[in-house]
Symmetry: C2
Subunit: 276 residues, 2 copies
Amino acid sequence: MKLFNKVAIIGVGLIGGSIALALKKKKLANEVIGVSRHKKSLLLAKKKGAIDKGSKELDIVKDADLVIFATPVKTIINLAPMISKVVSKNCIVTDVGSTKKEIVSMLSKIFPNFLGSHPLAGSEKRSIVNAELNMFKGTQCILTPTKRTTSKAFNKIKTLWANLGANVIILSPETHDKILSFTSHLPHVAAFSLIGIVPKEYLKFASTGLRDTTRIATSDPKLWVDILLTNRQNLVKNIGLLQNKLSKIKKALQKKDNNLLNLILKQAKEKRDSLG
Amino acid sequence: MKLFNKVAIIGVGLIGGSIALALKKKKLANEVIGVSRHKKSLLLAKKKGAIDKGSKELDIVKDADLVIFATPVKTIINLAPMISKVVSKNCIVTDVGSTKKEIVSMLSKIFPNFLGSHPLAGSEKRSIVNAELNMFKGTQCILTPTKRTTSKAFNKIKTLWANLGANVIILSPETHDKILSFTSHLPHVAAFSLIGIVPKEYLKFASTGLRDTTRIATSDPKLWVDILLTNRQNLVKNIGLLQNKLSKIKKALQKKDNNLLNLILKQAKEKRDSLG
């Protein structure tokens, strides 16, 4: 027996498309359905063999035993109440949103069998065009259960990600958002800010240093506005920490404090070296 | 006739070693001499065929018709007066320091035939171990002449970099330092700061975003303390600009200002996309 009978993927972009592709190719579901506002994405997803059927209409989700939300965060929050009217109470529901507190808080109330997921995969690229069968192989996938989470939802979603090749990690939604604000969201804020202040006429002198440091500023603004806003409390705090560290370096420069600068840079290097 | 008879490279690390290697392999000099505090670097440089002879003593530089300073910035400033006592007035002198104002101001006074260079090549790696024959091929090399610069020094140094495959760009030392503070030095400050505030226990969740954004924090602290200090006026100003941009994002988050956030991110993305 397959893991799922009918899986509905809401949003067949980079992540949703890659999940769909893996579900089909690994034969984890009898049927994979795609929902998208973009007809082009649905056509391409079908052509790639990622979905059996696609529609702009939410009705197609009916009878699914698994629904996966793979749209930008705010769109998940907007679509969830509508989807809840279409699916049965037994339907297992997850999402792949990059922030978890707001999504989990809302979706766990309207879906009896909900469990939040966040696969730490993907890149600044987007769209079904870049979807890959092995997108999740060897990557980490964070699951964020709460007191409400049923063992049925937990076990099925955990098995799903394991089958996609991901290493499953369990965190609370709050801990997830706190960690990700440091490891992903703040780096994006830094990259957007840094490239934002470089005068355009100087870009022709860009080194690999500037390129590397700002690569993630090519990410989709719409996607990232949602992420930043739904993790704003952690981010406001961490932007403050980053500003303080910058002030420390600024003051050391003003005082020509060789030793302090050397200490700050050495500690930073040691930490970054440990990342490999 | 070769471009130079005897070339002395002070500091046979990544850049100095790569220049030496190219001078030898492209037969641009009859003799290439290396000076280093590290016997190991000299032995490896000789083994690689980058230098004919090496020494810890500055006396070996005698009779050179070209001296290239390729040590950290402060070491260039410290060694220059000693080297000036050893070489003839006709000797052409250049350096590869990442900041130019302080170096050019000092070295143009003590060497009659000095011209500052800054090859925009290399990486966060260091040492002769990573030196490469084609390090400068297709890269930009900024030359920073002043009123004092002799046409002899200008033409010879320009021809040297052209022979190493670099595209030569002419800027004043002040303009160089202003541009580089945006395109290279501030990104380093941002990377050191960002990794500096990430709690160690969260590093295991590091995404490619955090890795890319902080890769240059693996750079040599000693090298970078010199660079930051000798470009401190531009940097203090630019750190302030970065802090202001961060404040703008912080305030937009606090106000949940979707439109403003979207505008900031969109403008940043457009600029980064133009970099390719």
